[in-house]
């Protein structure tokens, strides 16, 4: 099953490699991983999307907690949460495709953030599946480049991950 794990970790050199190393050494899978400092610059917040049976996920959280730099670990998928991913898509937008691209961006509530005579860069935020759908909906031949941030997630309501 798919799980979203949120980690608060010391913002130290090498902290990311400890987490990445743990996943590769123990054969856990990483679908996406995002990391950036929090409002408290001594801490980073990491979101990892992974897959595994309940036993594997239990081990992943225990092993993460064992890392000395890790302050807190939460499996967001255990309770209501929101998740978002950002994607930038560069598409060919010339001639008749130009209008069509704009229409598609509007339907998906994307924004066009870079315009040239022949291309657009469309910014789209949403769940991973919404981003997938957008890609699906586009004419493959017109997609020049895509880049995705990976998933960020946060618990709903009173669920707060903080020290």
């Amino acid at each position: 099953m798919r799980h979203i794990i949120s980690i608060l970790i010391e913002n130290e050199a090498g902290a990311l490699s400890r987490v990445a190393g743990l996943f590769s050494a123990r054969g856990y899978n990483i679908e996406t991983l995002t990391v950036a400092p929090t409002e408290d610059s001594s801490l980073s917040r990491m979101t990892i999307v992974t897959n595994g049976s309940d036993d594997v996920i239990e081990q992943i959280t225990k092993q993460l907690n064992k890392l000395v730099d890790v302050v807190k670990v939460v499996d967001l998928s255990e309770a209501p949460h929101v998740e978002r991913e950002l994607m930038l898509v560069k598409v060919r937008a010339a001639g008749k495709d130009r209008e069509e691209m704009k229409r598609m961006a509007d339907i998906f509530r994307g924004r066009i953030i870079d315009v040239t005579e022949t291309t657009y860069v469309i910014e789209l935020t949403g769940t991973s599946s919404k981003l997938d759908s957008f890609i699906e909906a586009l004419d493959k031949a017109l997609i020049l480049e895509t880049v995705r941030t990976g998933v960020s997630g946060i618990g709903r309501g009173d669920r707060i991950l903080k020290i």
Binding site: Q59, V68, D69, I163
Partner: protein, 569 residues
Amino acid sequence: MQLTGAEIVMRCLQEEKVDHVFGYPGGSVLHIYDELFKQDKVKHILVRHEQAAVHAADAYSRSSNKVGVALVTSGPGVTNAVTGIATAYCDSIPLVVLTGQVPTYYIGQDAFQECDTVGITRPCVKHNFLVKDVKDLAITLKKAFYLAKTGRPGPVLVDIPKDVSAAKCDFHYPKEITIRSYNPVVKGHSGQIKKAVKLLLEAKRPMIYTGGGVILSDASDKLIKLVRTLGFPITQTLMGLGGYPATDKQNLGMLGMHGTYEANMAMQHCDVLLAIGARFDDRVIGNPDNFGSIPRKIIHVDIDPSSISKRVKVDVPIVGHVPDVLAELLALLEEGQAKPDAKHLAAWWKDIGEWRSKDCLKFPQGDDVIMPQFVVQKLYEVTGGDAFVTSDVGQHQMFAAQYYGFDKPRRWINSGGLGTMGVGLPYAMGVKFANPEATVACVTGEASIQMCIQELSTCKQFRLPLKIINLNNRYLGMVRQWQEMFHGNRYAESYLDSLPDFVKLAESYGHIGMRIEKPADVEPALREAFTKHKNDLVFMDFITDQKANVFPMVAAGKGLSEMILAEDL
């Protein structure tokens, strides 16, 4: 007053009451060696290979429960040390490994003797640090010692660039330290402990299984009390030997791949299993599916939550420091005054008695060829069962574990988790430095001993009167055994040709060498070595049966009760 980084290292070691550092010098640690030279509180033991420095520090810790300390230079010093670090990591041994690094301003430029120490060692340390500023040095060393010995212990590495050991700053060594991201659980959950007591008292066929955690946490006394209070049978892992007296009648001996028949059968037939400081690894429970398919309730006490329900589903997990949890279990038992059901327990002991009567460790000793088991038995007799015994890895290791009954913790020193050939001799050195009055024997094989043989020179320098018991079968015995049993007797590269003359070799290092070829000579030779040559290192080369095998054996991937016994062959 301002101190240099190197002076700070020395002061920190002194603050931590470190009396021995095992190491080997080189360019990037020269400032630190200079300070070592100028003081006399911390004694430096010069080994002949960095691997041995870490092994010796490791055994120093295993045999004393102090933190072991090793000091090596950057680059090749570090890579040589990695085997030692990984070995300690696999057995959760508290070490602080200090490594030199090229100056901070050279890092990343492929400087001479530069390597990514933090990167190379990351998967085999509890934690590691690169100190980039001398102001962080003292606090980092404090953290290193604290991390190494608390929670589930393990090696911690501190990488110190050469400019950091030369730079100066004020010195302050904190008395206490907290690390916000590191809070190991100590006290077991009371509700869970109550549940455990209930299960134990209701058990019809109870079994206690203990591992290295009991030794590491110095929980032997409490364990003995608990086992005697309950009257239950107990078995130990390879790492747990000595945690409960081998000679006690409630002890079924070692379990696992080469465990006793009675211990493995009791593991499979019990209805309640109390596991303490052990981790159900593959050499211990065999096939986890087979093990898990047997209905029994499992209580698991361990300091490391990730050890619980990792390989086997556990019914009552108790995360906590073993002695504290045992104390609470004992208190509850005393308070409740309930006793286990005597009738059921008697029936269970009767079953165990039958398994025991197989006498699974018996072996034939004729007049011509020395059986390796016989040497260990005699070693036990001659040393009164009271020596510190280190071993290498192979058949001799299993024979030592099976036939030298350890009555006390921290007496049996071997590489259980990583299974590192070559540890035996440096382990014996570490033990001797930690226990100068003790009798120390190293049970080894002619292959393993050659992996750190250079340490005979260190032993000469420090006059270490170790006794090396070389069970010389001219084979990589354990490899040969597997080839005999699972690879159609094809002994691929397991024969050791061109062995040195170990007697002359020992003599060339200034030690005493003996070759023993007849069973009748085994005991007299041992007596001579341990009495007449008490104060010398004696290398005893026992020419043993070439094809002796270790039994009982549970083949890899099999269930624990599917044992091959010597009598079946």
